[in-house]
Amino acid sequence: SCGGNTEEGGSDMSGSISIDGSSTVYPVTEAVAEEYRAEAPDVKVTVGVSGTGGGMKKFSRGEIDIVNASRSINDSEAQTAKENGISYVQLSVAYDGLTVVVHPSNDWVKDITVAELKKMWEPEAQGTITRWNQIRPEWPDKEIHLYGAGVESGTYDYFTEAIVGKSHSSRGDYTASEDDNVLVQGVSTDPLALGFFGYAYYEENKGKLKAIPVDNGAGPVLPSLETVKDGSYAPLSRALFLYVSSKAVARPEVVDFINFYLENAGELAQEVGYIALPDNVYNEQKQKFEQFATGAATANQ
Amino acid sequence: MTKKQSKLEANNLDAYYGDFQALKNINIAMEEKAVTAFIGPSGCGKSTFLRTLNRMNDYIDGFRIQGQILLDGRDIYATDVRVDELRKEVGMVFQKPNPFPKTIYENVVYGLKIQGIKDKKILQEACEKSLQQAALWNEVKDKLDKSALALSGGQQQRLCIARALAIQPSVILMDEPASALDPISTAKIEELIHELKKNYTIVIVTHNMQQAGRVSDHTAFFYMGELVEYAKTKTMFTSPSDTRTQNYITGRFG
């Protein structure tokens, strides 16, 4: 079979890099990987979407080189990694504002409080909170159809932590998907829907969705570049990460890729709809990575 | 022959399967309440002709006729004739007994049911009467609700006759009705035909000369799509006028 479009120039790196994990981070990493193709056409970068949890499990078993994460690594994952002799470095790549959305034709929800979100998403709601007016009496007596991240998602963990108060704990009777596109599809075609996912997915599909201002006690706030950056969109603002494995940094193409990533993350994150970190933070990340890489190199010897 | 005397009549009838002409200029008039037998070698067109008499060939792709067939003086191929009405008037019995895979009772009353008759009493009476006419009543009266397929071949054939009688046709067409049966069953069927001709006009195809001789009043000899000779059965068998007829009935071919 035929080869890809090999462009002249760039690096002469080769090899392959396997990345998996968060669907929230996916658009950024996908963009970086795509741009990196021009840089190093012979490096095969594969990017999977298993959710942060799914990716972390693979990562901690040493099956992949890099994991996209929309939350920090948790204790049991860290434990497994340790057992498998894997150390890692956490690199921040962008900010995200987890966005709560409804169908554009929905004319009753003007804003929503954290308490109301909790009421509809906590485990106790399972099978009991099924109509809009159960959440706020003036809302219509209609079924509510919930769409949200699947349990392997970092988004799920983050959302449950922030809203329900306990990570990984929610009702189960909603449309759950690791693939945020499916959630966008669902909410944008269902007048009774309410869902949540990363800001980029909202940004990309603005015309078909309606974002809901979230009231954390200080009045309703819509997610936007500013409100996320300055932290006023709370509690659903968060950072997005990469984790790189110590085993992987032994390979020059991985180091090259990560450097490329950190150099371009700001621009590309913005392009796909996230919020870039300040430049100095990217520089910190670079230094952090460099230290880790040299450390890992000595450890490996 | 005037139209009054003849029940069924074909005038200048040609029949084609696609390009193949199966019947050539047939002219014949069949008498009411009598048995007319069609004889002739295999493939000569006996069945084709018989089936044009109740338009059974209508559904065969590419089949068409020219000429006229008159039942009681009315052209049965006229545009205003309803095929289903015609078939109620002209019943048919086939070579191989073909009872429906249903009960005996259901077989007999099938024709009435499809006419929309639902009254149990009428159906039951018609069932008994037809089975009696077909000389089958005594053999099956205790098992009317058993499957017709469980009957012997001869019984099945009489059931098919009963089924045809139930819709009270005036003509019954029979295409080699006994050729698949054993001698005893055959005798019963022949006896039955004899009985039925008191009330019905019967046309029977047979390849068995003796049978034609025994049951029929008139015999028509077909050969390669032509009606070669048509006469009183006795006359035909004793002094055929055409040599082909003579050769055939003396067993030189066929």
């Binding site: 699947g150 189960g172 449309t175 944008s188 269902d190 | 109740n54 078939r87 073909n98 499809i114 089924r163």
Partner: protein, 291 residues
């Protein structure tokens, strides 16, 4: 020479035996994982609980919602395919010209060769918006359009197999019916369909089995929310979709979550296995009715 013959025969036998190995592997794979699953979750819970949330905080392991979703899409598909398929079979057999039949049958079979992702695309992007234009309450993911499209897909299964069954009924029966003055309709429904009923039944069972196991259409268009409902207008989840959903998330080997897909797979396998054997048995039993 003789040795060579024996070796060849042995190799051929091995190839045939592989099919048994495949079945055995399927059963082994499904059983070994499901047994572990059922050692953690009682089979009573599995069969009686009314919710399916094995991945969530409040874990419920009732397969019923998935079965209901599967049943719902299958029922809609059959409700579409059976009347249309059977009517086509009868029409082609009793009414249509032979030439028409030889053209139409293969054309209809094209419907069965189209990959199911394509049907999924169609259900999601064409049928659902179309239905939404006059069913206001219809969600973007729903059992209705997935079921309808699935029905379209299995029309040729029913029409072709039923047509074969009706064609196999001896001509003499049709003639008997016509000879009594039946219309074509009466002949079809009074005689031909009853006589071909076992073959038609087989076609329907196989179609059901196919619909039960269908994956991509429902995964794309029917939703991913296990829900014990017969409402065709809301998102539901079928057994197959659940397996796809979990596979997409790449649940790690050895976890209870991982085993749920095998328990679901086992359920699916049992259903289709029963249906297939039923059809096989009917076919064997009634095949030789008319020689």
């Amino acid at each position: 020479m003789r040795v060579q013959e024996k070796i060849i025969e042995g190799l051929l036998w091995l190839s045939a035996a592989i099919t048994i190995l495949v079945t055995a592997s399927i059963i082994w794979v499904l059983l070994s994982e499901s047994i572990q699953f059922f050692s953690e979750v009682s089979i009573v819970r599995f069969l009686t609980e009314k919710e399916w949330t094995p991945l969530f905080a409040d874990k419920k392991f009732g397969i019923m919602p998935l079965v209901a979703g599967t049943f719902l899409t299958t029922a809609i598909a059959i409700a579409v395919a059976l009347p249309i398929g059977l009517t086509i079979a009868i029409y082609l057999n009793e009414y249509a010209h032979a030439r028409f039949k030889t053209i139409i049958k293969p054309l209809l079979e094209v419907l069965a060769t189209i990959p199911t992702v394509v049907y999924g695309f169609f259900a999601l992007t064409v049928v659902t918006p179309f239905l939404q234009s006059f069913i206001p309450g219809l969600a973007g993911f729903n059992a209705l359009s997935a079921g309808i499209v699935m029905g379209v897909m299995i029309i040729p299964m029913i029409s072709s197999l039923s047509e074969d069954a009706i064609s196999a009924v001896p001509r003499s029966l049709r003639e008997a019916a016509y000879g009594m003055g039946s219309t074509r309709l009466q002949t079809a429904f009074g005689v031909m369909v009853p006589a071909a009923s076992s073959g038609i039944l087989v076609s329907v069972i196989l179609a059901i089995s196919r619909a039960v196991g269908e994956t991509m259409i429902v995964a794309i268009a029917a939703g991913q929310q296990p829900r014990l409902t017969l409402n065709p207008l809301v998102p539901i989840e079928t057994i197959t979709t659940y397996i796809v959903q979990v596979s997409m998330g790449d649940v790690p080997h050895g976890s209870l979550e991982y085993r749920t897909i095998f328990a679901a797979g086992m359920t699916l396998f049992v259903f289709t296995f029963l249906l297939n054997n039923l059809s096989f048995w009917i076919k064997k039993k009634y095949q030789e009715k008319y020689d």
